[in-house]
């Protein structure tokens, strides 16, 4: 399953009460080690409830410094946000994520009392998705179009992030709708390399305002289109 697959699904508790759509996925870096990256990110909780726009913009966070009318409005709108801990999840279905218990009204962070996130915590939608990927030589190597999740064999263990998914094949899913599937179809027909491409999270070196890799981009098998444009067109122009 991919991370963006969670976004937009509704959370429903055991009584069938709709708790709102999922806006983001909180990750904590305490999973099993992966490659040279070290400890992997695993899902800690799902952030849901209320409209999504402010979460998408990051306006619900306390650290944002204004402008005042915006932060005031969005903090109010998002006062009802809930963070559902992974251990509360019963099933992940086509349209909804179902919880194993009935959520008492007013409960903000069900199931997380014994497992507060500590250390390296990121909101994946806000801080990882759509970020620029930079390779080891400082060259741009695409965007984080999605993240690939690996589920554990042990019950109740949260899935961990194992790969960055990128390219039109993944982007088309994110765009969604008829346009998204059209882009996916067209690209699927013309592309020579499999799309979407996956880059193991094990070669991620650093996460900042961009995602830095420990390898050069040419070793990743993701530069097909760039190579094609270069060899067929750009390198034929003098002075390239």
């Amino acid at each position: 399953m991919r991370l963006a697959g969670f976004l937009g699904k509704s959370i429903v508790d055991r009584s069938g009460r709709d708790l709102g759509a999922i806006h983001d996925v909180r990750l904590v870096r305490d999973g099993p080690a992966i490659g040279s990256f070290g400890a992997s990110y695993r899902i800690h909780s799902l952030i849901a409830g209320g409209p999504s726009i402010g979460v998408r913009l990051g306006l619900h966070r306390e650290e944002l410094r204004g402008p005042w009318p915006l932060t005031a409005i969005f903090r109010r709108v998002h006062a009802g946000i809930i963070a559902v801990h992974w251990n509360q999840i019963w099933s992940i279905e086509e349209e909804v994520v179902r919880l194993r218990s009935v959520l008492p009204a007013g409960e903000r962070e069900p199931g997380s009392d014994d497992d507060r996130p500590t250390g390296d915590v990121v909101e994946a939608g806000l801080q990882l998705l759509d970020r620029q990927i930079i390779d080891v030589d400082g060259r741009m190597a695409g965007k984080v179009d999605d993240l690939d999740l690996e589920f554990s064999d042990e019950p109740r263990m949260p899935p961990r992030v194992v790969a960055i998914v990128m390219g039109p094949g993944a982007l088309s899913n994110r765009i969604g709708g008829r346009l998204g599937s059209w882009i996916g179809d067209v690209y699927g027909r013309v592309a020579e390399e499999p799309s979407p491409a996956e880059i193991s999270f094990g070669i991620v070196k650093r996460i900042d305002n961009h995602v830095e890799l420990a390898l050069p981009r040419d070793d990743l098998g993701i530069m097909g289109l760039e190579d094609w444009v270069r060899t067929r067109l750009i390198s034929k122009i003098p002075g390239s």
Partner: protein, 409 residues
């Protein structure tokens, strides 16, 4: 000393590169029709672009993220795609307008039909992008654009009734011959001319091209706080020249030749020659900026390598987008569409599209994850929020005004 010189050059570049075909057309037309009664919009537009460019330059210097990276990160893949399509199309119209404008200047200088000059202008723009380094290209044309100071000198030589100009400027509202909707439509056009989105795409990408860091925040501020307002003064000089020379004689400014009249009257042939060179350089610099912005926006949305700090072969897709955009805009101008009309459409639509780029930047300029401690100050946020509201109102009002006034006819 080197730093000082660099800052000084940066200011001159921002100054000389401020005016483009949009500013020339909008300011001359409004001066000829409304006198100085719309001068206040130029002031609002200049303050707006100063605010907008300063935030985007600061975000780029501290976080390394240019405007369209931020748009995608904050609006998500889907909404950002709609934003990209709108921004790209408007930027494309602007590029075509600049290339058409270059050809018009060449027609004025040579008396050869502008359509003959269009392909040459387009090829010249592409060659400069392909060959020249970023900072050289930016400085050569920006600084040559300073020759437009001739518009201010001509105005001074015309010795107008300054008190009258000032009192006109201090009394907003349409003159007796014009209606309110037309007046407001031209207000939108002036705002769009001063605050064109490509300026910010280019400015923030330029910060990355030149590897700005927090040490360059000083350069950012100097460029924006000094260079842009000085450029804005030239806009006002063009407007005042038209108000003094064209308006009393009932001449409208539908052609570049009429827009050049105030300088011709004030300074004669030599002034006119200087004006042509200045216009050519200033419009050329805008053509470079819009052509590069076509590549910047697409590449930044998709994560491709972009920029002139690497060889073209290392940013092939970026250069392909730039090349295709130039060729397509050449095609558009060759349809014999009036470049002045094209300019009017491009600036008005630019104004309508401003919130698409302004809003994400305003949010991120407040986010310590991007700018560390360099978040917006409180006064910046007060003004910044007021502009958000203003730009939203303009954006909603633009299309109805366009239809109502039949594009300012």
């Amino acid at each position: 000393m080197k730093k000082f010189f660099e800052i000084f050059l940066g200011i001159l570049t921002a100054f000389g590169g401020f005016v483009d075909i949009g500013d020339l057309v909008a300011n001359a037309e409004t001066g000829a029709r409304f006198g100085m009664s719309l001068a206040w919009v130029v002031v609002i537009g200049v303050i707006g672009i100063v605010l907008f460019a300063e935030m985007s330059g600061r975000v780029a210097a501290i976080s390394g993220r240019p405007v369209f990276d931020v748009i995608r990160e904050r609006l998500g893949a889907r909404v950002a795609l709609a934003d990209l399509v709108a921004s790209f199309l408007i930027n494309f119209l602007t590029l075509a307008a600049e290339i058409g404008g270059l050809a018009l200047v060449l027609q004025l200088a040579t008396d050869l039909n502008y359509l003959l000059w269009v392909p040459l202008a387009a090829v010249a723009v592409w060659i400069v992008i392909w060959k020249l380094s970023f900072s050289l290209m930016e400085k050569i044309f920006g600084i040559t654009g300073l020759l437009l100071v001739v518009t201010a000198v001509a105005l001074w030589r015309l010795d107008p009734d300054w008190g009258r100009l000032l009192s006109d400027a201090a009394h907003p509202g349409p003159p007796a011959t014009e209606k309110w909707p037309t007046y407001l439509f031209f207000a939108v056009a002036l705002l769009g001319a001063a605050m064109t989105p490509y300026e910010v795409f280019f400015f923030s990408s330029g910060a990355v091209e030149e590897h700005w860091t927090r040490r360059d925040l000083m350069v950012n501020r100097a460029n924006v706080y000094l260079g842009f307002p000085l450029g804005g003064l030239l806009s006002l000089a063009i407007m005042a020249g038209a108000a003094v020379v064209l308006r009393p004689r009932g001449i409208s400014a539908d052609h570049l030749s009429q827009m050049a009249l105030p300088v011709a009257v004030g300074l004669g042939k030599v002034g006119l020659a200087i004006l042509y060179v200045g216009m050519f350089a200033a419009i050329f610099s805008a053509a470079l900026e819009t052509a590069l912005s076509a590549g910047y926006t697409v590449a930044q949305y998709l994560g491709w390598q972009w920029g002139k700090y690497v060889r073209p072969r290392e940013a092939s897709r970026f250069h392909l987008v730039v090349l295709v955009s130039i060729v397509a805009s050449l095609g558009l101008v060759l349809t014999t569409i009036d470049p002045i009309k094209l300019t009017e459409y491009s600036i008005v639509l630019s104004a309508a599209a401003l919130p698409l780029t302004y809003f994400p930047i305003l949010v991120v300029a407040n986010d310590p994850q991007y700018v560390d401690e360099y978040v917006n100050s409180r006064p910046t946020n007060v003004v910044g929020f007021a502009y958000l509201v203003l730009l939203l109102v303009v954006s909603i009002a633009t299309i109805p005004l366009m239809i109502w006034t039949r594009v300012g006819a």
